[in-house]
Homo-oligomer: 101 residues x 2
């Protein structure tokens, strides 16, 4: 059921790619990271929530951070993190800036 799989995926769009810099828009509709999955990246990532709501969890923090539109944070290289939750009833839009740190 390809259509269903597509509907259940986050949508990634690369808006800019330059040496040492990448800007992505990510659209979530209730998705979260797979169980026990952690992002562990070589790059720094600055992320801002443009719309919707999400819970982002750092491996070195006990509680997830609740993000609303306008909230932003900087994720250091190799600081493990995951998306615990995005709002199931609305579209959540992230802008992520990956940079050589």
């Amino acid at each position: 059921m390809a259509a269903e799989i597509e509907q259940n995926s986050e949508q990634f769009s690369e808006l800019l790619a330059r040496p040492g810099l990448r800007i992505e828009r990510i659209i979530s509709t209730g998705q979260c990271s797979p169980p026990d999955f952690w992002y562990d990246q070589d790059e720094g990532e600055w992320v801002v929530l443009l719309q919707g709501e999400a819970q982002l969890r750092f491996a070195d923090e006990a509680k997830a951070r609740h993000l609303r539109a306008g909230d932003h944070l900087d994720i250091a290289p190799h600081r493990r993190h995951r998306v615990d939750w995005t709002a199931p009833d609305q579209t959540t839009i992230w802008l992520a800036i990956f940079y050589r740190a």
Copy 2:
């Protein structure tokens, strides 16, 4: 009348500063660039309109580009540009990413 001057200025907030990368939020309430003023920058600038409306003009184009929320564009180093107009009746929010090109 300091308060009035402040009210008539755009508000710049630096959200991230890293070597070769700077992220700024700019809040406009009807301001535009001074007459005959052109930005001419050493850095590349990727800009996205988060809220409001604006007209951005490039010196090498006859007509200004009308930007609405979600519109984004990349400005090459030394490509001269100015803000011709921002919506006078609403708050316009820009996110600008300056990068070493």
